[in-house]
């Protein structure tokens, strides 16, 4: 059994609003192991985005524990959370992923700069990763000079370059056509397996689940079902 990278214990998130309290995440508990790629799915309003924001240390839970590498994100102060995010978490977003004024290589190196790891070896690693992702000839291009799929691959490289413990992807295929979406998720899954990182992808596109090891289904803030068997995951991805 692989080592556990991420554990959530009875995580609750309640938003205060003028119309009363809103329970966005209700007693959610799960684990993600190193080298495991998990999909978090559910309809709009199911709480998956809130869950992702908490896992990314962008939001504090109202109750419960979020342990990444044994450290509880819920008890960290703001400065510690920022540092933790920088060192331990990799992130790709739906859009606006890359800084438009940095080239593909510079966008990736930025993550190393932030972690004081931009040395010769780091630069080489960044170039190798981009080459691996088929972007060798796009290294010195600005995001505006790349296609959506290429930009998404650069974002994947940025999320992984500093060897984070947890890699999060928020709807990474939202702006891609089907073929490029499959390619991007497959690349993501391969890298997570290869590098033994824990990966969580939030998606509403169930077809993308064909590359994941487990699917966590949320509804009304609760974790309602976990798909673990490859057969049922494939069936879910096929829409059966």
């Amino acid at each position: 059994m692989a080592e556990t990278a991420l554990e959530t214990h009875s995580v609750v998130k309640i938003y205060k609003s003028d119309f009363g309290d809103v329970l966005a995440v209700d007693e959610v508990s799960f684990q993600v192991h190193k080298g495991e790629f998990v999909a978090l799915v559910g309809p709009s309003g199911s709480g998956k985005t809130t869950m992702l924001a908490m896992l990314a240390a962008l939001l504090s839970p109202t109750a419960g524990k979020l342990l990444l590498d044994g450290q509880d994100l819920a008890t960290m102060n703001d400065a510690r959370r920022v540092a933790f995010r920088r060192e331990k978490i990799g992130f790709t977003f739906q859009a606006n992923n890359l800084l438009p004024y940095l080239t593909a290589l510079e966008n990736i190196e930025l993550m190393l700069q932030l972690n004081n790891r931009l040395d010769k070896a780091g630069k080489l690693r960044a170039q190798e990763l981009l080459t691996r992702l088929g972007l060798r000839d796009r290294m010195h291009h600005l995001p505006s000079q790349m296609s959506g799929g290429q930009q998404q691959r650069v974002a994947i490289a940025r999320a992984l370059i500093h060897d984070p413990s947890l890699v999060l992807a928020d709807e990474p295929t939202a702006s891609l056509d089907t073929e490029r979406a499959f390619q991007a998720v497959e690349t993501f899954a391969n890298l997570i397996h290869e590098r033994q990182r824990a990966g969580i992808m939030v998606t509403h596109d169930l077809r993308m689940c064909r590359y994941v090891d487990r699917v966590l289904q949320m509804q009304d803030g609760k974790l309602v079902k976990i798909y673990e068997e490859p057969q049922e995951i494939k069936a879910l991805a096929r829409g059966e």
């Binding site: 938003y15 809103v22 966005a24 985005t49 809130t50 992702l52 924001a53 990314a56 962008l58 939001l59 400065a79 920022v82 540092a83 933790f84 995010r85 920088r86 060192e87 978490i89 992130f91 977003f93 739906q94 859009a95 606006n96 992923n97 890359l98 800084l99 438009p100 004024y101 940095l102 510079e106 930025l110 993550m111 700069q113 932030l114 004081n116 931009l118 600005l142 940025r158 928020d170």
Partner: protein
């Protein structure tokens, strides 16, 4: 270390990759700089035109007729009082200053030039030092020193004869004066000035019909140099009590009393301050709009773990960079433009005033951008990335 270099790296990269846009903002700042520096120079030029002669006097006190309200033209002191002033213990030197207007005519250019015609005592305070030629030789010679402005605008030089036209009684009279020296700028009442010995001045000055045959000699004010300039207040009181019917004031007070000087300076200074304020709003507005456009980018930066101080420092670095480039272009442009201005335009670049304006301009960027820096620091990555519920 990266936390110090990273903001500069981000700021420079963004600046370079969007250099067209940033350069346009720098140009706006350059135009504001040009405006502020010209207003400062105009203020200095106008102020200088009003006070230049008085401020360059080698004297400590100006003696006016009592109750003349410190107005040089209104002050009338009998010339024998000059000797009385010289006799006062503690007075090193005293010289007459008599003012009038004349028109230099018959110039090679065919033009005429209105000038201030000042009567002074050779070798005494009031006579400007020449930078070319020689000082006035004797109290009653037909000699004249022209100031730099007269020199530039007439083309007259040492050794030339200068023809002035004045009205005496009901007739226009022409007088020829020999140019013996050229002084630095010595404008009086915003006019170029020429200086002739007092007794000669009294012959060639404009006169009313009543004055034409009058023998009484009158000066406007007396410039006094003290043996011990530190004893200004004591000497002022001593002069007033020993000479009688006079009022002595230090040079700065005499300058402030020049008609319109204070009002003119405060008007120009107000214009300068308002231009700076407008600059502040323009710069502040630009950076605020820019930050609003960059909210998602800043959200990404923060989400991937960029600390707030790095984000803020990057914004500040960019503001300083854009402002500095703008101010530099503006200052260089001002310098270049000023070379083409004719001497008739009263523009004077005073080192201290220009430096103050440049420092103020360099500060308007960061001050104007403070709001946007604060805004950038407060951007929530969750909201910026659309992850908030």
């Amino acid at each position: 270390m990266q936390m110090f270099t990273l903001p500069v790296y981000l700021a420079l990269r963004e600046f370079w990759r969007n250099r067209g846009r940033f350069f346009l903002v720098s140009l706006v700042i350059a135009l504001i700089t040009l405006l502020v520096l010209f207003i400062a120079a105009l203020g200095e030029g106008l102020g200088n035109g009003n006070r230049e002669y008085l401020s360059k006097l080698d004297a400590d006190l100006i003696v006016y007729q009592d109750k003349a309200d410190l107005l040089i033209n209104a002050s009338r002191i009998n010339r024998d009082r000059v000797a009385a002033v010289r006799r006062v213990d503690g007075v090193a030197k005293a010289g007459s200053i008599a003012v009038a207007n004349a028109t230099i005519t018959q110039l090679d250019s065919g033009k005429e030039l209105k000038v201030a015609l000042l009567g002074v005592d050779p070798g005494e305070p009031g006579e400007p030092l020449v930078v070319d030629g020689s000082q006035l030789s004797r109290p009653n010679v037909n000699e004249v020193i022209i100031d730099r402005n007269t020199f530039l605008r007439t083309g007259l030089k040492v050794g030339d004869d200068l023809i002035i036209r004045v009205t005496q009684g009901t007739k226009d009279q022409l007088y020829s004066l020999k140019v013996v020296g050229v002084s630095d700028g010595q404008q009086y009442s915003l006019q170029p000035a020429i200086f002739t010995p007092y007794f000669n001045w009294d012959q060639v000055r404009p006169k009313s019909e009543a004055e034409v045959n009058r023998t009484e000699t009158v000066v406007n004010v007396i410039a006094v140099k003290l043996t011990h300039p530190a004893k200004l207040e004591t000497m002022k009181a001593r002069l007033e009590s020993e000479v009688g019917n006079i009022q002595a004031v230090p040079i700065p007070q005499a300058i402030e009393a020049v008609p319109g000087y204070t009002a003119q300076q405060s008007t120009i200074n107000t214009q300068g301050v308002f231009t700076l304020l407008i600059g502040l709003l323009v710069i502040g507005g630009f950076f605020q709009i820019q930050i609003l456009q960059k909210v998602p980018q800043i959200g990404v930066l923060k989400a991937i773990g960029t600390p707030n101080p790095v984000v803020s420092a990057a914004v500040v670095t960019q503001i300083i960079l854009v402002t500095t480039i703008g101010v530099f272009i503006g200052a260089a442009g001002t310098l270049l433009l000023s070379l083409f201005f004719p001497p008739t335009i009263p523009i004077v670049f005073n080192g201290r005033a220009s430096l103050l304006a440049i420092v103020a301009l360099l500060m308007i960027g960061p001050i104007g951008g403070l709001v946007s820096v604060r805004y950038a620091a407060r951007i929530e990555p969750l909201k910026a990335l659309g992850l908030s519920t």
